[in-house]
């Protein structure tokens, strides 16, 4: 009898903690799970800079291919000849060009082994030609980006970056 009473008391306590904490937060939230391609800001590394390209909430087994058409990337104060894109987490960069059109660039990368639902996929390194270099895909150029899933389907609905400094996976 004593054990049952303690069990009931503990259960009520746990329930109370949960309800209390939830009430403190002002209610429940509905998480946003939109597929997103994220281009990080340049971070100084060694004598140059590094940009991480990541994805979050990718559907259909995750992202397995990405193609950024000509003039898809935009960069300023960057030495185009120094730009090197390297695949991460199973991605392999098949082709890249940041030289033909000054200030612009393109690349294609695939992951033959698996898809990435959330995480980094490409690391871009370069040397700067001036202060505060930028390397990104502008919203106006989103149409030049094609994403493919691990299930061999086109990922048609996705957003480009969000201005947020963190993502969860």
């Amino acid at each position: 009898m004593g054990v049952r009473t303690r069990w009931v008391a503990a259960s009520l306590l746990l329930l109370g903690v949960g309800i209390g904490l939830t009430a403190c937060m002002g209610g429940w939230f509905n998480p946003q799970l939109a597929a997103t391609l994220i281009i990080g800001a340049p971070v100084a590394r060694g004598g140059g800079y590094e940009v991480l390209i990541s994805v979050a909430s990718m559907p259909d087994g995750g992202l397995a291919s990405i193609a950024v058409d000509d003039l898809g990337f935009t960069h300023t104060n960057v030495d185009g000849n120094s730009v090197v894109a390297t695949g991460l987490n199973g991605f392999v960069v098949l082709a890249q060009d940041f030289v033909t059109t000054p200030g612009r660039g393109r690349l294609t990368a695939v992951n033959a082994a698996t898809g990435i639902e959330g995480g980094t996929i490409i690391e871009v390194t370069f040397t700067a030609t001036g202060a505060n270099p930028t390397f990104t895909i502008e919203q106006a150029d989103k149409g030049k980006v094609s994403l493919g899933s691990h299930h061999n389907t086109t990922i048609g609905t996705w957003t480009l970056g969000t201005g947020k400094a963190y993502y969860a996976k």
């Binding site: 259960s11 746990l14 903690v17 698996t114 400094a165």
Partner: protein
């Protein structure tokens, strides 16, 4: 809680902690500064609790500030975590875990909140986990109230800083798909029941897992049996029977039973004509065996010598030292977020761990990797050397050097102070 934890750490008492700083230099062209990663940890113990403050700096940025609390309150074990992003002045994540063993039942209450500063947030939720044994069967019930916890089926949550790639991982994930305006928001979102150790007919150890969600109703039920004898002494099968709403699948995964032969580990798998080497889908026959790796390990008197060779580099990889320097399938490494070397097929490792002359531990690790098409002597790909020298029980100095056929690629210096 942050204020309380910080206040307690300032209030004096039994402190412990550590400060670690690692400076990396890029040798080419002229020892340029590459990165500076520093961690400062401060613990404060009181009664049966320990509060922890963890600060992480990268280059000149203050990336993470975490606070933790662990301890016992009567029959309850309590753990709490808070994470802030100082570089953006954001609250990021909070988690509370309360567990207890009551009347033979393990009760766990998990609660988490993710802020709107993180892509996907804001989100919050809780999980009630009950586990116990009845009649020789182990039963686990996980009731999801807008969150999931890390287990065999689901990951916890990893929060990543976009620019640096630095991350923090926690058990309770409050990002669960719901439908706006549905009854699933703010209430029950899923229930998972797992029963292990059931007997059914001639099967002595049957595991079953049922998962239902508020969003879709019935999600799946799975029955698993491990180690089915095939009649061949060297071959067994694992069987998984899954029912989803519109599909049923049965997957038999063949496993080789290898005896003790010398001290060299063999990494082998059974091949079938199905793309994933299972007995399912496109399978019609076993097609052969694949020896995809070899391993050798010797341990004695503080010295460990390890040699690993990967033959099938398209599907298997060597993980980095941080992830154990083991042979792992590429798909598994990517899925679990393990770091690996895609370009190397062989590792020769020598590790020495000895007591320091003046207290503490002195360590030396030499890892040499070989590459298939490097064109250098013996196909040498890269050598990584790192060492830690204990000056006294509280101060250690370390360094690391990395070189590949192009020359010296990295130099690092490390200092760790603990008290």
């Amino acid at each position: 809680m942050a204020v309380v934890a910080f206040g307690l750490t300032l209030a004096g008492g039994p402190f412990s902690g550590s400060f670690t700083s690692e400076l990396l230099l890029d040798p080419a062209p002229n020892l340029a500064f590459a990165s500076l990663d520093s961690n400062f940890t401060l613990n404060y113990a009181f009664y049966e609790f320990v509060t922890t403050s963890e600060s992480e700096f990268y280059l000149l940025g203050y990336i993470w500030q975490g606070f933790g609390l662990t301890g016992r309150l009567g029959a309850f074990n309590v753990q709490a975590d808070l994470l802030f992003g100082p570089s953006t002045a954001d609250f990021i994540y909070a988690q509370e875990i309360v567990t207890a063993r009551l009347a033979g039942v393990e009760v766990g209450f998990y609660w988490a909140m993710l802020s709107g500063a993180v892509l996907g947030g804001p989100a919050n939720g809780a999980v009630l986990r009950l586990a116990g044994s009845v009649g020789g069967c182990d039963i686990v019930s996980v009731t999801e109230l807008g969150a999931r916890i890390r287990d065999e089926e689901f990951d916890g949550i990893t929060i990543v800083h976009v620019d640096t790639g630095l991350s923090k991982s926690y058990v309770t994930n409050p990002i669960v798909a719901t439908q706006t305006g549905s009854v699933c928001v703010g209430g029950f979102t899923g229930e998972k029941v797992t029963i292990n150790g059931m007997s059914f007919g001639c099967i002595e150890d049957l595991s079953t897992t049922l998962y239902v969600s508020c969003l879709s109703g019935f999600e799946w039920v799975r029955f698993e049996v491990v180690g089915i004898c095939s009649g061949l002494s060297w071959l067994s099968l694992n069987l998984a029977l899954s029912f989803e709403l519109q599909t049923k699948s049965i997957v038999a995964t063949p496993r080789l039973i290898l005896g003790e032969c010398l001290c060299i580990d063999t990494y082998m798998e059974v091949l079938t004509d199905a793309p994933d080497n299972t007995i399912y889908g496109a399978f019609t026959s076993l097609t052969g065996f694949s020896l995809y790796g070899l391993g050798f390990t010797y341990r004695g008197q503080g010295v460990t010598v390890k040699e690993l060779t990967v033959f099938d580099t398209g599907r298997y990889v060597l993980t980095t030292p941080d992830y154990g320097s083991v042979i792992e399938s590429l798909a598994e490494a990517v899925d679990k977020g393990h770091e690996y070397f895609p370009e190397y097929w062989e590792l020769l490792s020598i590790e020495v761990v000895q007591d320091g002359c003046c207290g503490g531990i002195t360590e030396l690790l030499i890892n040499t990797y070989f590459e298939r098409d490097s064109g250098s002597l013996f196909g040498w790909g890269m050598t990584h050397v790192e060492g830690t020298f204990a000056v006294n029980p509280t101060l250690s100095l370390g360094g690391e050097i990395e070189a590949d056929p192009t020359g010296l690629t990295q130099l690092g210096l490390c200092i760790e102070v603990s008290w």
